[in-house]
Symmetry: C2
């Protein structure tokens, strides 16, 4: 593997959510280019299961100006473990406390950043206290596996982390069904 060599870097944007850097790098060919790299907080996405239903939230997404059907997600705060974050976000957004929390791995949402999205499966839920942020208008919805399958097939779910978690869950279910 031939690595790129960092020559110089400049921070060109900074906010609470994101920093952007123009990295001047040398490619293995010797050519010099500028690559824009982003730094963003990691986040978690939690798939909560009650009986044979999946707990989803319908949340208003401002850039698209529409409601989006998702599972709970949120930024990992400084000093927080992803697992803690998953428990916190599930209670804040959907109003459930988690009994059993199982990691479903992680993925990289954007190649310009090393940001990680951690996936969890949450089971043995009990009622907690929903307390969404001021910016969150959330309605909780329980859906069956069959409803999820149809919504995925007809492109009614467009939130990437939700799609990854739900498809993973369906694959797990189908695999069990074959045994």
């Amino acid at each position: 593997m031939k690595e790129w060599k960092l020559i110089d870097t400049e921070r060109v944007y900074h906010s609470k959510y994101m920093s952007l850097f123009n990295d001047k790098v040398m490619l293995p060919t010797g050519q010099k280019i500028t690559y824009t790299r982003a730094e963003l907080k990691d986040f978690v996405t939690v798939l909560p299961i009650i009986g044979n239903k999946i707990v989803m939230i319908e949340i208003f997404r401002y850039p698209a100006n529409r409601l989006s059907l998702e599972i709970p997600s949120g930024y990992v705060e400084n000093g927080e473990e992803p697992r803690e974050c998953a428990r916190r976000e599930l209670e804040e957004e959907a109003g459930y406390k988690v009994g059993k929390l199982r990691s479903l791995g992680w993925f990289n949402p954007w190649t310009r950043s090393i940001r990680k999205a951690h996936l969890f499966l949450a089971e043995d839920l009990t009622k907690g206290t929903q307390r969404p942020d001021e910016t969150e208008q959330i309605e909780v919805k329980l859906l069956s596996t069959e409803e999820i399958r149809k919504k995925l097939e007809t492109n009614k779910i467009t939130h990437a982390p939700t799609i990854i978690a739900l498809q993973k869950y369906l694959l797990m279910q189908l695999d069990y069904a074959r045994r």
Copy 2:
């Protein structure tokens, strides 16, 4: 659905790849906040199939400083249709011309932007000419469905668009297998 009301906007960052805006908005509660919104080019991700193998590429990703196992992806250029883009990227990155191209829908990679990622399934492939960008160090790899399944299960694939496309393909395969 209660929409947010845009009061004012300021562009705080701009490059060839991305613009960032601080939108001052009024929430349905009457409270005013600043929301950082991004504008980015749409992209396509193409899942190429040859016989019973999936064509993947191993590509160097600079921010993570490692090789990543992915399927071909790329920005939709101005004036280009997503389907054209899929054909172009597949030939540029993996060196194959597409016979049959089928849409697998789209998703939204990042909630701060309305950017769309369009997914395609490419079949009836013939050899074309690979011509990667100067920044792309690419090795083409053919994998079986079983190899893909294992790599997904063991978190060896972390590129979100690739995961979504491969999971979708596995679900399609399992569904067929059940009939």
